[in-house]
């Protein structure tokens, strides 16, 4: 945890097959909670994995290629939504108690965040990445990570009736 991207990495000899086997599900689930749509997450992770495969010589040198795949998948999905002229909100899967969630109201509040805010929340609280890691993965500054996270938490707190 907490390693920067693009540094000589631990998996120098790792094949794409190894990487795919180990990371696909994790990246898929991260995209799933970000995009909130299983089909979109599956397409996004596969598209990003295909691009990673094409450029594996380079991507494999990154310290955390899975962060690259997450970012590319996220960008691709957002782009795909735009291509099909669907709004992100249109494809959100609204959580309910039937989903077995401990606090569906929290899930609903997260679902109402903008995708940019949600991506930061997912990186920090689902993937447990540091601010620096999140910034590197999403290609934004650490300051932007902090400001987006702060706004996201404030909005969540408001919706959930918490004081912050």
């Amino acid at each position: 945890m907490g390693k920067q991207l693009n540094q000589p990495r631990r998996h120098q000899t790792e094949t794409f097959a190894d990487f795919y086997r180990v990371q696909r599900d994790a990246v898929f689930r991260a995209l799933l909670v970000t995009l909130r749509n299983p089909d979109a997450a599956a397409e996004a992770v596969d598209e990003a994995m295909a691009r990673a495969l094409e450029r594996w010589d380079k991507i494999s040198d990154y310290d955390r290629p899975e962060a690259w795949v997450y970012r590319v998948g996220l960008n691709w999905a957002v782009s795909a939504w735009r291509r099909t002229r669907r709004e992100v909100q249109d494809v959100i899967v609204e959580p309910s108690t039937e989903d077995g969630l401990p606090e569906p109201e929290v899930a609903r509040a997260i679902a109402r965040l903008s995708i940019r805010h949600r991506a930061v929340v997912v990186c920090r609280y689902y993937l447990d990445w540091s601010t620096a890691d999140t910034a590197a993965a999403l290609q934004i500054s650490e300051g932007t990570v902090k400001s987006r996270l702060s706004r996201a938490l404030k909005k969540l707190a408001t919706e959930l009736g918490e004081d912050r």
Partner: protein, 447 residues
């Protein structure tokens, strides 16, 4: 509980609640097949029966779920394979002639089905020095379309880029020409090779490593006799198909790739909504051009991507088969054409009739993610092989999850395969990357 902890617990619960084995209704056809994605295509046609024989999922799709030509819906379905064919750079890249005026270069790109897009860019931006490559697909009333591997050059030279290639069969195209079925050594994929003037077009044929059955004799005949092409006066490739073979129209899978040492630019001809870049200018960024018809994908460095975004100008767009914009400037009437195409597609499927089914019996354990096998097609029987990383998720993964779960429960598992191949007996002897994961699969025709 702190808010951060509530968020953390919720996100983890949400992520874990997704159970692939419960998502059988998501099984759907691959909408196109890249050669190295072909395994997904095979699974698209699988019908799974688990345990007591209860039909869990039928993946042979109704006609209205097939990929509509001209659809603007993203049609991507990806299966990553460990060893996709790679092409050493022996072929000379083709760069179309372009004009330069006042420091600005321009060219009209001609797509394979007749559409065109005029682009211009700063002369000092290296946009295509490593060549221009068209990309597209055609459909033959199959559950999955077949996409093309297109290069400028001779078929034999191109197919040998995959490995030393041998001719398995030769067919007359009924126009005085010959179309060969090639098998490049080690590529694990057979190709029908078409020569259209200066262009070689390889049509992935299935079989062997990638795990899909070969074309039926009937379908192969339709491809050989109905697939035509030529070089345009400007040197681009133009393709035609005789019914029921249909060249893919504008949509997410019709594109032109411009290559340079700094990166690549894909110009997808598809109806989209003009947008800002999808994200940071690094490694991959995309946007929809103001025309609403060109989805630009840039892969490369930040400098390259930014230069393309700032310098690439898309001018006149002509979409084949579309007479022009409506009075309000939109192309809404295209939707009617797409609907009509869907209807024709359904009729084609009906005309071709149902495919005979065969049963696949499985025993043992299954490597959910990676499967190794070896393969050969001979005398009407085949052992299908290769190393794949599945998955056209959730399709393949869901399928295998279903099978794996059933095996884990000790149930007998059978899989019905609705393919369009020969009435052949296929035996899969697959072995996972992990020695603990293995699977024997046997297919036999049941009707």
């Amino acid at each position: 509980m702190k808010l951060e902890d509530r968020i953390r617990a919720t996100l983890h619960a949400e992520a874990e609640r997704f159970e692939p084995q419960l998502a059988a209704t998501q099984l759907k056809p691959a909408t196109r097949i890249r050669p190295w994605m072909a395994f997904a295509g095979a699974a698209a046609a699988l019908v799974v029966i688990v345990g007591t024989g209860v039909l869990l999922s039928r993946s042979q799709p109704p006609a209205d779920t097939l990929p509509p030509p001209g659809s603007s819906q993203p049609q991507t379905s990806t299966t990553a394979q460990v060893s996709p064919p790679t092409v050493p750079g022996a072929l000379v890249p083709w760069v179309p002639e372009y004009s330069v005026d006042g420091g600005s270069a321009s060219v009209v790109l001609e797509y394979i089905e007749g559409s065109s897009v005029e682009i211009s860019w700063p002369e000092d931006l290296d946009l295509m020095s490593e060549g221009v490559v068209p990309y597209g697909y055609a459909s033959l009333g199959e559950a999955a379309s077949r996409d093309f591997f297109i290069r400028r050059g001779n078929v034999e030279e191109v197919v040998n880029q995959f490995g030393a290639a041998t001719v398995l069969e030769s067919y007359s195209d009924m126009r005085g020409g010959t179309v060969n079925l090639w098998r490049p050594e080690g590529a694990g994929v057979d190709y029908l090779g078409f020569q259209f003037d200066d262009w070689a077009v390889l049509v992935y044929e299935g079989g062997t490593q990638v795990g899909t059955p070969p074309m039926s004799i009937r379908n192969r005949q339709l491809w050989v006799e109905g697939f035509r092409g030529e070089s345009t006066p400007n040197g681009f490739l133009r393709l035609y198909g005789d019914e029921p073979l249909r060249i893919g129209a504008a949509g997410a899978n019709l594109s032109m790739t411009l290559r340079s040492p700094e990166g690549s630019v894909e110009l997808h001809l598809t109806q989209c909504e003009a947008s800002e870049p999808s994200g940071p200018f690094n490694e991959f960024v995309s946007w929809c051009d103001e025309s609403g018809w060109v989805d630009v994908h840039v892969t490369g460095s930040e400098d390259f991507a930014r230069s393309v975004y700032e310098g690439l100008d898309i001018g006149a767009v002509f979409v084949a088969g579309v007479s022009g914009p409506d009075s309000d400037g939109s192309y809404a009437h295209l939707q009617d054409e797409v609907a009509a195409a869907d209807e024709r597609w359904g009729e084609t499927l009906e005309m071709m009739g149902p495919n005979p089914a065969y049963r696949m019996r499985l025993s043992g354990n299954l490597g959910l993610i990676a499967i190794d096998a070896s393969s050969e097609v001979r005398d009407g029987s085949a052992t299908v092989a290769g190393t794949w990383v599945t998955s056209d998720a959730p399709m393949v993964e869901t399928l295998f999850q279903l099978i794996e779960n059933a095996i884990a429960r000790g149930e007998e598992v059978s899989v019905l395969f609705h393919g369009d191949g020969y009435p052949i007996r296929i035996t899969w002897d697959s072995r996972g990357i992990d020695d603990e994961m293995w699977l024997d699969v046997e297919l036999e025709w049941i009707e």
